[in-house]
């Protein structure tokens, strides 16, 4: 684990159970602890069913933890209500999902301006320009008025990356961002994420099955059966 005096996020002893108090209660995360510092590019790997997506949902404030402590920028989140979680999610996090998850009724540009629209009720000319610039940066300057259905899988994922980064959140969470793409598109998207990371100094926590991509991150956390098996620099993985 990278030591950082002031980590961006800090999880300590996280437990997550489903069906609490019922006969079929199941604990998915067993005391997970780690931190992500500012500007880190971290891969979260592990076999299917190891709890990666659940952990990402907890980190993304989409699911509540059952026990433990989760701090974002030093603030404890476990006591926040739904509105509080939503506002932190809006302010601190960007999301890239495996299946792009763009809104099909909106153009690429509108999808990218959505976070600004929901935050302020309108999109200022500056925000519009910023969204255009983000789409240009991900190579979609000529496709920004197309609907998601008119774009390839790789292009849709690039729109999703632009949307996740448009408000420059400190941390982007990506759940198998290349899992649904062919190898060429997968490489293209990953290179793009690394480039944006380098340009914006945004932290990334990327869930992936692909050891090839994990090895290209700064740090790799391996989750097995709901517990952290290893947390080491990617250079160690490559070796």
């Amino acid at each position: 684990m990278t030591a950082n005096a002031s980590p961006l996020i800090e999880l300590a002893g996280i437990h997550k159970s489903y069906n609490l108090g019922m006969p079929n209660e199941a604990e998915v995360l067993h005391g997970v602890s780690f931190a992500v510092g500012r500007g880190e590019f971290v891969a979260l790997i592990g076999p299917s069913g190891s709890g990666k997506s659940t952990l990402l949902n907890v980190v993304g404030l989409l699911e509540r933890l059952t026990a433990g402590s989760y701090r974002i920028q030093g603030e404890e989140t476990s006591g926040l209500d739904d509105a509080g979680l939503t506002l932190r999610r809006r302010a601190v996090l960007g999301f890239v999902f495996q299946f792009h998850h763009l809104l099909p009724a909106f153009s690429a540009l509108e999808n990218v301006t959505l976070p600004a629209l929901m935050r302020e009720g309108r999109v200022t000319p500056a925000q519009h320009e910023r969204a255009r610039a983000m789409l240009a940066a991900v190579g979609l300057e000529n496709d920004m008025h197309k609907r998601p259905g008119e774009l390839s899988g790789g292009m849709q994922q690039r729109v999703a990356i632009a949307r996740a980064l448009v408000l420059e959140p400190p941390l982007v969470l990506a759940d198998e961002p290349t899992g649904n793409l062919d190898r060429a598109s997968s490489d293209e998207v990953f290179v793009l994420m690394r480039r944006m990371h380098a340009e914006l100094q945004t932290s990334f926590l990327v869930v992936t099955h692909d050891p090839r991509l994990a090895a290209r991150c700064d740090r790799v956390i391996e989750l097995v059966d709901g517990s952290i098996e290893s947390d080491r620099p990617a250079t160690a993985v490559r070796e």
Binding site: N57, G60, L62, E63, D82, A83, T86, L87, R89, R90, G94, F95, F97, H101, L102, L103, P104, A105, F106, L114, P115, L117, M118, R119, E120, G121, R122, R163
Partner: protein
Amino acid sequence: MLNWLGFERRVAVRFLREGRMQTVLIIVGVAAGVAVVAYISALITGLQRNTLEKTLGAQAHVTVSALDNVVLPARAPLAGSSALVQTQPRVQRPRSIANWQSLVPVLEAMPAVAAVSPMVSGAGLAQRGEASKSIALMGVDLDRYDRIVHLRSKVVQGEARLGPGEGIIGRELAEDLGVRVGDRISLVTGTITDSLRVTALVDLGVRELNRRTVIVPLRAAQSLVGLPGGATGLDLALVDVWVAQSLASDLSRRFPYKIESWQEANSQLVSALNAQSVSTALIRGVVMVVVVLGIASVLVVSVVQKQREIGILRAIGATRGQMLRVFLLQGAIVGAFGSTLGVLLAVGLIKAFTTFVRGSDGLPLFAITLAPSLALSVAGIATVCGVLAAVAPARRAAALDPAQAIRM
């Protein structure tokens, strides 16, 4: 405000546009409901107004007359005994209201009363040559009586005038007697016979009234009925016809006269109008419930269809309140568009009714218009119904767990 709803507006409109056929169908459904409600309301309002105008156009809103003659018991039965009594009802002869001249200004001073007209009424025969017809004789002061039933506006021939020896008769009676304006007829009441020159023929709106009505100067009627200086009744016109019942009750408590409102005189008509109003309200209520259920069912389906989009929006920062408002706004938009279309449809239906549905005389049966206030209230209620219909689906959308919705 605009900024506050900017996100909700954009998403709501886009969701509706995306579900094209679904949206069109529900807007058409709302429009049909609104059109039915607006059309039926306008139709029933027109029908009731027409019925009331016809009914009240020929009669007073409140009538004051002398109490009926009654038989008083000769003596009370002895205690502990019972008596079998058979009573012959007394003949009801025309009686004058005591002190009617003093009562008129008292009644006229009441704010609810628009006009008061003394009347002497009785029965008799109208004769011309060999023709003889039974009549209802009314003696009035023309100017006062005109303020009660607008008699001058009902003249179909001649000029309404009631000088000494002059009279106004119903159109059908003139036909039965073969009389034209300017002709003379004889009036017979009991042992008294008089003659009058017909100055005008009137159409009171009811054929039977036209066949029996003879209107003469008050003084002539007093003489014919045998009530010199008397008045058998006072006719009252009110500022608001619907206060007649309460005014009549109030007057009955204060004065020793027989006082009857137009509602009491036309109790069957009032019952029919009430039944009609209740039926209309029921139809409107049922149609609005159907509209609400229609909008709600479409929005429920929309929430199910859009679970993933709702999950994405929630994940990237939309609050529960924003998602709630997106769907409430969809209900309001569907309600507003449907209402506007429905009001236009109702205007078309009313136009078709007045164009194609006509009486035997080729004229429209009655005036039917969609008052702007009615159109606005129906449209407003439908829009509110749209929002109410969206409450359950909107709450469901707001309550969706984003993590679960995204996985779908």
